[in-house]
Symmetry: C2
Subunit: 203 residues, 2 copies
């Protein structure tokens, strides 16, 4: 059986967990508490030298890291990934956008709130995170104003990747009131078959 | 003809430029000076709402952003991307690693040096960038100590993605002396057919 090294509150872990559940693929979840350094142990670093969850372990012991790469691996040949070359590249474009222009702001502010470390950061640093996050949400709003999902007309792993931290952005202090197209899209994602919330212990 | 919106010193632009050259695909390069705000004009934001180069424009006007997504689009079906599902996912894993655990440190310190803005950042901020970059280089060193290229036995777009900023890491103050496997790999990349240096105006 597939093993998913994961941390329940992690949006990056949730991306994989949600996809596995929607694909109906059985898996076993191994919870590692990142706040207690459980992803930096010698044992885990032997599995992922970059010391991060999520990590997928295949039945033969092969490991695959990075949420978007794991999603791609699982989604190839399924309805979660377009068949045409341009569509696939557009999925990767939005997953790269999420990773570089969204997660480092939206997810990190939420993490600082959750970990109780917000006060350790300067006002300037927090303002920079907020402004980066608003810029990312603005790009999403303009794109979703004209279409139901990120790529083509269908729900794909690009939507899962961007949903993971957007739907809990308010936990990092972001207000979604001024992003109506984003909010409508969040509802569309939530209504997909097999949807499970981030805090549900699946697998 | 393909148009590549690009900035000569950008490693992200170079990833695409190098691949196009090695694939022998003709393209026209459109230079935009990011230091002068040329990627934030109304005209360019209409092409890429995220305001970043590289951006690939297809002959029909379709645009594709994000260096790794553009590389994937160009590499599908070529020798620069493995044929097996796991190999492809591993390529994406290393491209995601580059984007999240390497570029934000190694590329950003180089950019601060080039843009002359290093002094505007605190010692603490610079030290955090340096330490993140060393961690990334350490992960690369351990991986390359056992194999010639990042995925399988072959040069792929994962190598191009990681080469782009690693080979100029010293311009950001990183010393590569203590990374012998990385240095040997840099030489292997440089000896690939069709190699062009980052500062060469191709296309």
């Amino acid at each position: 059986m597939l093993q998913l090294y994961d941390y329940l509150e992690s949006g990056n872990g949730y991306k994989v967990r949600l996809l596995l559940t929607q694909l109906g693929i059985p898996f076993e979840r191994v919870e590692l508490d990142i706040l207690k350094g459980e992803t930096r142990t010698r044992e885990f670093l032997a599995k992922n030298p970059n010391g991060r969850i999520p990590l997928l372990e295949l039945p033969d012991g092969t490991t695959l890291a990075e949420s978007n790469a794991i999603q791609w691996y699982l989604a190839e040949g399924t309805r979660f990934l377009p068949e045409d070359r341009l569509g696939r590249a557009q999925v990767l474009q939005w997953m790269a956008f999420e990773q570089y222009s969204h997660e480092p702001f939206v997810a990190v502010l939420r993490f600082w709130h959750h970990a109780g470390t917000l006060a350790a950061h300067s006002e300037e640093e927090i303002a920079a995170k907020r402004s980066g996050g608003e810029a990312g949400l603005g790009v999403m709003e303009r794109h979703l104003g004209q279409r139901p999902f990120f790529v083509g007309e269908c729900y794909s792993i690009a939507d899962i990747a961007l949903y993971a931290y957007t739907h809990v952005a308010e936990e990092g202090g972001f207000e979604l009131a001024s992003y109506p197209a984003v909010r409508a899209w969040l509802e569309r994602v939530r209504s997909q078959p097999g949807y499970v919330p981030i805090t549900e212990r699946v697998g």
